[in-house]
């Protein structure tokens, strides 16, 4: 069995269990076997494992490229970003596995926040590197126009979504974090969507398959953060399991994407 198959066969049932828990929390399965503590520990360990796999292969991808390859630096930033996420998750997993709870905010959030500038820089770096590769993937002007449209759209959506978050009756650090993650995600999404536009030109090839996994993963990750803020506004804390499932699927896709790129470099 391949490493890829093992990851999928582990992560998908875990994500499915979280989804089922969100849809039918009253099932005896979740009362007697997969209790809150068990789910918290399994979920935390799974997310940490997937992030470490993603980091490992992203770092290998950077190392496999020549020093003057324009994609090497973005891969390095991407690897550092995933490592920061993994460290954040490690802190969170410590609480979840050892203590059985998830404090929010925690020191882990410092690592999560550090990851965003790295990942955003990496994604814009990939856009620049791939545009300069000389393939017909769209001009800088076309990419700038797409980025501008997306930025304006996300600014409008973000304002509508995040204004109620900032007005919530909770401590300021918690509100800042709950609003800060989606705000950073919206910035990251601008770069991701431009990269998606570039990757779409490679449909049917190995380059596209590797990027499709990575981009679906990053978009799902952003969706998880945005859903968290949205559910917080709605006061729907019972839907946390859906967010856990989203993160697990997103980290799985990111791991598979970095592995796919590693195959390309062999």
């Amino acid at each position: 069995m391949t490493r890829r198959a093992i990851l999928v066969l582990w992560a998908i049932p875990v994500a499915a269990a979280f989804t089922l828990k969100a849809l039918a929390p009253g099932l005896s399965l979740f009362r007697d076997v997969l209790t809150d503590g068990v789910m918290l520990r399994i979920g935390g360990a799974t997310k940490l494992l997937l992030l470490l796999v993603g980091w490992h292969f992203a770092a290998r991808n950077a190392a496999a490229l020549e020093a003057d390859n324009p994609a090497r630096r973005p891969w390095s930033f991407f690897a550092w970003g995933l490592l920061a996420f993994a460290l954040g998750q490690a802190v969170l997993s410590f609480y979840q596995i050892v203590l059985g709870n998830s404090p929010y905010p925690s020191i882990g959030d410092a690592f999560f926040l550090c990851a965003y500038p790295l990942l955003i820089t990496a994604t814009f770096g990939f856009v620049r590197a791939y545009r300069e590769a000389g393939y017909p993937v769209g001009s800088a002007r076309e990419h700038a126009a797409l980025a501008l449209v997306m930025a304006v759209t996300f600014a409008v959506v973000g304002y509508q979504l995040l204004r109620p978050v900032m007005a919530m009756d909770s401590p300021l650090p918690e509100r800042l974090l709950t609003a800060g993650y989606p705000a950073l995600d919206f910035v990251w999404l601008v770069a991701i969507l431009v990269l998606l536009r570039i990757a779409a030109g490679f449909r049917g090839g190995q380059v596209f398959r590797a990027w499709a996994f990575l981009l679906v993963g990053t978009v799902s990750q952003c969706a998880g953060d945005i859903l968290y803020a949205y559910f917080a506004v709605l006061g729907q804390t019972g839907l946390d399991a859906i967010i856990d499932a989203t993160y697990i699927v997103s980290y799985l896709f990111v791991a598979l994407g970095t592995m796919g790129h590693n195959d390309l470099l062999k």
Partner: protein, 94 residues
């Protein structure tokens, strides 16, 4: 690189492009493989029906340098060998 002994080598542009696209498609996808090959042909001023060995070399070089950004220089060199092998069966010395 090709030497002067093969300077008389010429091939139908459509055949060269088709062979290159065939090799690049698994990596870049058929659409991008074809579009990039045609774009580079235009940029290199390869517009006639026939292609010389030098023009073919230049085209492969351009495509390989772009491909290297995605797959690394080592893998791109392997792909170039695949292209040369495919063209070799069409009569181009490798």
């Amino acid at each position: 690189m090709l030497d002067s002994r093969v300077s008389l080598w010429r091939m139908e542009r459509t055949v060269v492009v088709a062979e290159i696209v065939k090799v690049l498609s698994p990596y870049l996808g058929a659409t991008m493989a074809e579009a990039s090959t045609r774009t580079h042909c235009e940029k290199l001023g390869i517009v006639g029906q026939a292609m010389s060995a030098d023009q073919t070399d230049a085209l492969i070089g351009k495509l390989a340098s772009g491909l290297a950004v995605f797959v690394g220089r080592e893998k791109a060199a392997v792909v170039v060998q695949e292209i040369r092998k495919a063209l070799g069966t069409q009569g181009m010395p490798s």
